[in-house]
């Protein structure tokens, strides 16, 4: 179904749930999910509000293709003002709950205010009510999920939940759905917990409907699925090796951030790679990877389901962690492994389990631990601070201990829960924080992949790979290969990726489809599902409008253009090995052109002409 034209507004302060009509004028300008929810957020809250106060709102939003038969059409996003960055947050997740929301008849759910007591929202089709969460507050995501399923006696119930880290105020807490899929970045789970909202449980049985052109939609969807099936990446590669296949690629070209981004290559990368996850373990002959897994409607199925070796120190005497669960994706494996110098695949997998179980963004958690390790190396943090934990780089036991502490908000885990920026400021060495606008970096060193430096610096949610993944072009040759070491042409490349991704997200599709699909494959699916004409040009225009709206929100929140930058390390300290040896990121060569292409002033302001063009 395309839009259900209905949203659910939940007033947590007064305990009411109210249906209202979707603003179709906005839907026509912002499509859905990321774009449309950002429009609602932008119109309904003061961007300067306290992100953890009752004036902030939190929106769970689907796109018009969410819940349809379109491949990967199971995505939903959580949109709010981030406590980590103070800017707009939009964290996207797969699994099944997005499709379930849509099948219950809702385009989005807007949460406002703050409940006086812990509650969860129970939705069954048109019925929605807040119920006491007294019995699940203080529980992990996995425990709460089990309790709610038993309570409602419905195995088909889909649940999104925050863990103990969010309750404890960890600033990068995630909203975890379906046990191990997560709206992971920017602390959206922290906002949810701040509202005393523990979980959202949804059951939808209304089915699929409201497709504008059903036959045209089936034709477009089938054509798209054929393209995905025929493509070597989306048809075979991602299912077999997952995103983790990048570990050896990025390390091989010396673009692997290592030791808190001091270095660009990690000697232990092979031991924690996608290929290594297939290797039989000496202890029991079983590989780390049990199987792949797919989200709702997905024909790619890149997800990892893994086990930890039962003899490994991290799970000894913990049989609850001996079963299969969500395994390592590349970003988690990098942050928990390479950035901390740890090459223990079992330890990383166990910590990844904990990140799922208690809802922590593994990128921000791993990067913050890496920063703490460098602070420890510099003497700014000592074992007195850590409660006796030796934080030397490479220490798997320390990583495991910190994950357990941060998950519960105990001991030095409270400091790790601050995120890298605040941690480094607290211990007097702010330059050691590898963040943009307060959010930790993902797994690509911008000294070796120049375009990614511009993508990080200008990302509307702080350092992020999913706002403009020029790695596809600069490294992988999708859609065309560009040289990762040159800056020429990268401003246009970054803008093109940013705009297209905003449109893909807002449709309710997974960005991984774009390894095979162009907008020529996506627009016909949206066009057939939705009222009106949705051409390639219109989709890209919508993407650009969304990008400008997010920028506008951030500027109104107090962001300044001088925050469109990178940490000094990446601008001043050259890469030590590999093709980029001797290079820093040449952001200053790309940023002015980027501003010009965006229709912004030389000092990064959205010009009146650009505002008029997009109706902002």
């Amino acid at each position: 179904m395309a839009w259900t034209r209905k949203i659910l507004r939940v007033d947590l302060t007064n305990g009411t749930c109210t249906a209202e009509a979707l603003n179709m004028a906005w839907a026509n300008e912002y499509l859905g999910q990321r774009g449309l929810a950002t429009k609602y957020l932008s119109e309904e809250i003061d961007p300067k509000c306290d992100p953890l106060g009752p004036d902030n709102k939190l929106i769970m939003a689907t796109g018009p293709l969410t819940g349809t038969m379109a491949s990967t059409g199971g995505r939903y996003s959580v949109i709010t003002k981030s406590p980590l960055t103070g800017l707009v947050a939009c964290s996207n997740s797969g699994g099944f709950i997005g499709a379930e929301m849509k099948n219950a008849g809702w385009d989005m759910i807007i949460f406002e205010g703050k409940s006086p007591e812990p509650v969860y929202l129970y939705v069954e089709n048109d019925g929605a009510e807040l119920r006491s969460a007294a019995d699940i507050w203080g529980k992990t995501v996995w425990q709460a999920d089990e309790i709610l399923h038993k309570k409602h006696q419905d195995p088909q119930l889909r649940i999104a939940c925050v863990g103990r880290s969010a309750e404890a105020g960890c600033l990068y807490a995630a909203v975890v759905n379906d046990l191990h899929r997560a709206a992971g970045r920017s602390g959206v789970g922290t906002v949810m917990a701040s509202k005393n909202l523990k979980a959202v449980a949804v059951r939808g049985t209304l089915g699929v409907g409201n497709i504008a052109d059903p036959k045209g939609f089936m034709d477009a969807v089938n054509a798209g699925k054929q393209v995905l099936a025929d493509n070597a990446v989306t048809g075979q590669g991602l299912a077999t090796y997952g995103t983790q296949v990048l570990m050896n690629v990025i390390n091989g070209m010396a673009a692997m951030p290592t030791f808190n981004m001091k270095e660009v290559q990690f000697a232990g990368a092979e031991k924690i790679s996608g290929e290594a996850m297939h290797e039989p373990r000496p202890s029991d002959g079983k590989p780390n990877l049990t199987t792949n897994a797919g989200c709702f409607g997905c024909t790619i199925a890149c997800g990892r389901i893994s086990t930890v070796d039962r003899g490994h120190f991290s799970v000894q005497n913990k049989p609850e962690y001996w079963g299969n669960s969500g395994g390592l994706e590349y970003e988690a494996a990098w942050a928990l492994g390479s950035d901390t110098g740890i090459d223990d695949l079992d330890a990383l997998t166990y910590v990844n389990f904990l990140c799922n179980e208690d809802g922590m963004d593994p990128i921000s958690f791993g990067s913050t631990v890496a920063a703490a390790m460098e602070l420890f190396q510099a003497g700014a943090i000592t074992q007195e601070h850590t409660g006796g934990i030796d934080l030397a780089f490479g220490g798997a036991a320390a990583l495991v201990k910190l994950a357990e502490l941060t998950a519960k908000g105990e001991g030095f885990g409270r400091d790790i829960g601050l995120g890298s920026k605040r941690l480094c400021e607290k211990y007097g060495m702010p330059d050691l924080s590898m963040t943009v606008k307060g959010q930790e970096f993902p797994a690509y060193d911008p000294r070796a992949i120049q375009g990614m430096g511009l993508a990080y610096a200008t990302s509307n949610r702080g350092a992020c790979h999913l706002r403009g993944y020029t790695v596809a072009s600069e490294v992988l040759g999708i859609p065309v290969k560009t040289d990762p070491l040159v800056t020429e042409g990268k401003a246009g490349l970054v803008k093109a990726f940013q705009d297209a991704t905003a449109a893909v997200d807002s449709a309710g599709l997974c960005v991984f489809t774009t390894f095979a699909w162009s907008m020529e494959n996506i627009a016909p699916q949206v066009d057939a599902a939705c009222e009106g004409d949705w051409s390639v040009d219109r989709m890209l225009e919508v993407g650009e409008r969304i990008w400008n709206l997010e920028r506008d929100f951030n500027m109104r929140a107090g962001m300044t253009a001088d925050q469109d930058t990178l940490p000094k390390r990446l601008l001043k300290e050259a890469a030590n090995v590999g093709p980029a040896k001797g290079r820093v990121n040449d952001l200053d060569k790309m940023l002015p052109e980027y501003y010009a292409l965006r229709g912004w002033s030389a000092d990064g302001q959205i010009t009146p002409e650009t505002r008029a063009r997009f109706g902002i």
């Binding site: 493509n231 070597a232 990446v233 075979q236 590669g237 991602l238 077999t240 090796y241 997952g242 995103t243 983790q244 296949v245 990048l246 050896n248 690629v249 091989g252 070209m253 010396a254 092979e270 996608g274 290929e275 890149c302 994706e329 590349y330 970003e331 790979h465 999913l466 993944y469 790695v471 596809a472 490294v475 992988l476 040759g477 999708i478 290969k481 040289d483 990762p484 960005v511 991984f512 390894f515 590999g578 093709p579």
Partner: protein
């Protein structure tokens, strides 16, 4: 002259038994190109999507002309992506 060939992901099946996880050290005559090296191990050229020599990407047209030097590392992947 010796070089190192590294094969990853689904191309690992073309590694010889003596390979160490991903890599094999190879004696090659002067004038050997990356394509010569791939042919020697029967790696289908059409599956060699990402070819790095010492970490630097080689375009398809360079794989016939870029003569390998002693100590070079040639790493090869099929079409892959992630994120």
């Amino acid at each position: 002259m010796r070089v190192q060939l590294e094969l990853y992901a689904s191309l690992m099946r073309y590694l010889p038994p003596e390979a160490d996880r991903h890599r094999v050290r190879v004696e090659i005559p002067v004038g050997t190109t990356p394509h010569d090296l791939l042919d020697r191990y029967r790696v289908p050229r059409e599956q060699a999507h990402l070819v790095l020599r010492n970490g630097v990407f080689l375009h398809a047209q360079e794989r016939d002309g870029a003569v390998l030097q002693d100590g070079d590392v040639v790493a090869v992947w099929p079409p892959v992506a992630g994120g």
